[in-house]
Symmetry: C2
Subunit: 267 residues, 2 copies
């Protein structure tokens, strides 16, 4: 049973930080559900598990070993050291980073989601989950948005990180160039286009890139200026706002409904 | 400056627990934004504030005192004792419970939201916020759903607790009886009606009560059996589910859009 001082465990622990992930090209995935998704959809190098976790996840361990993935018992303390949660799960996979080149991610996608400056990992992961649910073809982590491989972002995505192409690009003009051919919609609480208006209905039917900005400042001005429309989710009651992931889900489902009804109309 | 041992402070501290709130008919509201909403929309008995909070919220203190609400300086320790957050805000209002009788809440509402067994306060507050944003006429905390006056629920609602009628009723048959005349829609991941189907489009135009169930078990079977339709949010990608508040927002906005376009069609 490996301890926290074993070189392989110590090396894995460096993946808790972004700089360590970039250097190794790998990241950590924690907990049974996420590790199961990783084994199915990602490239997993090895899995560390406590005795208790091994006992509790016999099927998962079998599935991993069937795929030639090494599953190594570790001490509780070693497992705790590989976790950034308050309640470590005792089960951690070391995986290759999942992001793909920007152009490849966006190719042929009719619904692309761009996170432009989302710094809270839980929000970024929740938007990724909503994008997956709404059938987006790609998600781009743009500008100074948090790393999708951040532990909290991975958890909040509940597996969606592994379900659709995810790209990272710090340079916003490069991102916008990659979205050519798509209608650019910037989510903006003060946008001139009401998501529920008849005009929006027409706009939403086209292949679209939705851009969601950071919690504090919204979509960056340089991107707003390039958007085809700034779209607001109407607030019918007295609420001052929706939370970011909720607003994103409402926008993306509006697009999904409209795009699919258009396909049905034609069919 | 009152300390944590002052009887008024000690009495207020009991409002952190549900039994204390029920006994006194009052609850605590913490932080500048929430206290501002409470001062505007609720019945506030008094406000406790640290010296720092008084300095930082001069306008709010003035507004409260203009309404005849007593603002009392307290020590940091006293303020901490009135908070259930990790980072106490130093500003706490003592308010009357806001819930109204069930029949009164539902009267004339064209869009009612029923929380049936939601036990996580953050989720309940987030659904309340989404209900407010989507223009719901009332929210019912039904069955063994968490108390809307729970501190975490109040925070997650970001003021929405004060914006629309909220009712509480433990007895589910009583709740269903109060919803007579409304189409009952139960949100259900396995529901037979797809939210985006043409059939749903017709259903959503009518005055509606949406029922959302608990995180683990969904809408209780007894309620499902009485629903006119069990509605699922379609999952177009590979996500296994949406989180509760996100799913609720997508459902409620679908209703709001349909109900309002019907009004426009007629107009």
């Amino acid at each position: 049973m490996l301890t926290e001082r074993t070189p392989r465990v110590a090396a894995a622990r460096k993946l808790l930080r972004r700089v360590g992930r970039e250097r190794a090209g790998r990241f950590l995935v924690e907990g049974a559900q996420a590790v199961r998704e990783a084994v199915e959809y990602a490239r997993v190098h090895e899995i560390f598990a406590t005795g208790l976790a091994l006992d509790r996840n016999v099927d998962l361990v079998d599935a991993a070993e069937d795929r030639g993935i090494m599953v190594t018992p570790v001490t509780d303390k070693a497992a705790d050291g590989l976790s950034d949660t308050v309640t470590p799960q005792g089960l951690v996979a070391v995986c290759d980073l999942v992001d793909v080149p920007l152009e490849q991610a966006c190719e042929d996608a009719r619904l692309v989601v761009v996170l432009a400056g989302i710094t809270e990992p839980g929000n970024a992961g929740a938007v990724l989950r909503a994008a997956d649910a709404a059938g987006a073809g790609a998600v781009v982590f743009a500008g100074d948005t948090v790393d999708p491989h951040n532990g909290k972002a991975v958890r909040a995505s509940t597996g969606s990180l592994f379900h659709l192409p995810v790209a990272r690009e710090r340079d916003l003009p490069t991102v916008l160039a990659a979205l050519h051919g798509l209608t650019l919609l910037a989510a903006d609480g003060h946008g001139e286009l009401d998501l529920h208006s008849p005009q929006a209905d027409e706009v939403l039917a086209a292949p679209t890139a939705w851009i969601f900005g950071g919690e504090a400042h919204g979509v960056p001005d340089t991107v707003l200026a390039r958007a085809d429309h700034r779209v607001r989710v109407p607030l019918y009651g007295r609420a001052e706002s929706l939370n970011l992931a909720t607003a994103a889900a409402v926008c993306l489902y509006a697009s999904a409904a409209r795009q699919r009804s258009r396909i049905t109309d034609r069919g």
